[in-house]
Amino acid sequence: MARFGSNKFKITKRELQSILDALKRKGFKTIGPTVSKDAIVYEEIDSLNDLPIGIGDEQEAGSYRLKKRTDATLFGFASSPHSWKQFLFPAQEKIFSIHQPTEKTSPPLIDPSVRQDPPLAFIGVRSCDLQAIAIQNRVFLEGPYSHAGYKSKAKGLFILAVNCAYPSATCFCSSMGTGPRAKSGFDLLVTEILNGQKEPFYLIEAGSSQGEEIIAQIEKTDATEEDLKKEKDVIQNAEKQIHRRIETQGIKELFYNNLQHPRWEEIAQRCLSCANCTFVCPTCFCSTLIDIPKKAQEIERWMVWDSCFTLNFTHTPAGSVRKSVLSRYRQWMTHKLASWIDQFGISGCVGCGRCITWCPVGIDITEEAEIIRKTSPVKTPS
């Protein structure tokens, strides 16, 4: 893959809008952040004015608030309760419908749902979420079988990424090696730079040939040394704002060696098994298949999100294998941070902090990992 990004350009909000327009003209469904019911969510957007202009967020364990900023940033916030996975891997997706002819000796007819949806363009993807998309690509596409629905959506995907400038208190991408600066996996990468009393301006670079094509069409100037320095400052300031961290050295062995650590009991007393963390996590991929009767003689099979926190998620005919909340929380956390590495070669966690923010009782995965590491009877290198 050719190395892009050496050419950085400076544009204004107007040119950014024209990029959005160009994508829409090409037939993309443009999805971006917007405010809805006191949260920033990802929905279809028409223009940059749909974005949370001058809106930031305050996040902590179990808490999420929007706040008004004193500037006109488009991307002045961190993660949201939505992740991009809901568009590539929808919460509910029809796999096929099957029609049983009234003549009983005639075989059933299976109609695979082949949808011709417009290609998707994600606007404003953070580095952590870029890594999350890469992880789900590995889960759903690499291996002897791939998820056909995911593949068709991921194939035409266009990503306009954004370097994170205002990480929240729950972010810990830097210790996971996934940010705040975006390194790869995007078609275009934008950094929003404050400009005193004027509107912010943007540095933009291409990350693919498709991105290059779009950039070629817009008005821009070359980024100056000063611009590049300002961009560097934005990123360094972002890094400084990240206080939470996870030590990842030997983390797989750490959890494999501590499956019976007493801390799990402590966490289990707080965990409600509500499954919020699995729904907001951008890499969680568990699902189930259900058959739904639609009308006489016709049944549909759907794939829907599932969560390892449900009681019967894993069972044998003798019953649930993980009856206790302890075992289910342990399953989620050790899968995310440890066994995922054995399964897919990389960690399942991207440090976006959503699970910390959206846990109703504020369980903090970084805090728990640190406690287990500090009190592990088996010493793990760090």
Binding site: S146, K151, F285
Partner: protein, 281 residues
């Protein structure tokens, strides 16, 4: 985005098979003899499984119990344990079953060519081992010795006894059967299947064990063989968990890092030994 891998098929689309025959094996166990509507042969490896569903009944993972050398008829033996198997049990001859597969890692049959193979089956764990018995029947001499230790709760839970006695009479297998609960008309051994192990003798270097049954049975069985100095690497289990996608992306069948559907269901004992005694893993 640039490049993504290209796979032509949708792995979630099943194929309709027609039920040629249905047999009741015991009060809660029945067998389906299936033929695909397109009449194509169905090839599989012993130890693999299919996802089966009655139309609208949801899918379940069921081991393939047919003869691998006869790919024209697909046999599944199921116990009724939940909604999916109940829906399948209501089907009859000429009804249709949706089949997806075959999936999973099967028994390492190359490893046991011309060796002594001891099969240990508990309860409904016999069907996944049947393909091996058919191989022995059709390829006399494939195994140097084939021994079957088969245990069940009661005499009424024993499956395929006529077939097993026939294979015993034809000297294809050495058969040891035991039931946990006695009954007036059972004249055979009474006790757990693992109690049959101390009395069989074998050459450790040339002997392998394939086992399928309740996890607790397999754990104690492995220990009994290891106590007789059988190398750990010679023992293989077929594990069971609920499955939905069968291709390692729905997450249900995980046992620590392993997906039972694609890393198994057959596992070398030494690979999973340390996981079997962790509660609720």
């Amino acid at each position: 985005m640039d490049h993504l891998p290209d796979f032509p098929e949708n792995p979630f689309i099943p194929k309709p098979f027609v039920i040629e025959e249905k047999k009741r094996e015991s009060p809660s166990v029945f067998s389906l003899y299936l033929r695909p509507i397109d009449q194509l042969p169905f090839y599989f490896l012993p130890g693999q499984f299919n996802m089966l569903s009655a139309i609208g009944g949801g899918e379940a993972a069921i081991s393939i119990a047919s003869d691998p050398t006869n790919p024209h008829i697909l046999i599944h033996t199921l116990r009724i344990v939940g909604n999916v198997t109940k829906a399948l049990s209501k089907l009859d001859k000429n009804d249709f079953v949706l089949v997806r597969g075959p999936y999973g890692r099967g028994w390492p049959i190359d490893l046991v060519k011309r060796k002594t193979l001891i099969l240990v089956a508990g309860g409904i764990g016999l069907p996944p081992l049947l393909p091996l018995l058919y191989i022995a029947q059709k390829n006399k001499g494939y195994f140097k010795n084939l021994i079957l230790l088969y245990g069940a709760r009661t005499k009424d839970d024993l499956l395929f006894m006529p077939l097993l006695y026939k294979l015993k009479a034809e000297q294809i297998i050495t058969l040891h059967v035991s039931v946990d609960r006695p009954s007036r008309d059972w004249k055979g051994q009474v006790g757990t299947v693992t109690a049959l192990i101390p009395s069989i003798s074998f050459d450790n270097k040339e002997t392998f064990v394939f086992s399928c049954g309740p996890e607790i049975m397999m754990r104690f069985m492995a220990r009994a063989f290891i106590q007789k100095n059988l190398p750990k690497e010679h023992i293989f289990f077929s594990m069971e968990r609920n499955m939905k996608c069968a291709i390692g992306i729905c997450g249900h069948c995980q046992l620590s890092p392993f997906f039972i559907c694609k890393d198994g269901p057959v596992f070398p004992y030494e690979k999973i030994e340390h996981l079997l005694t962790v509660e609720e893993l």
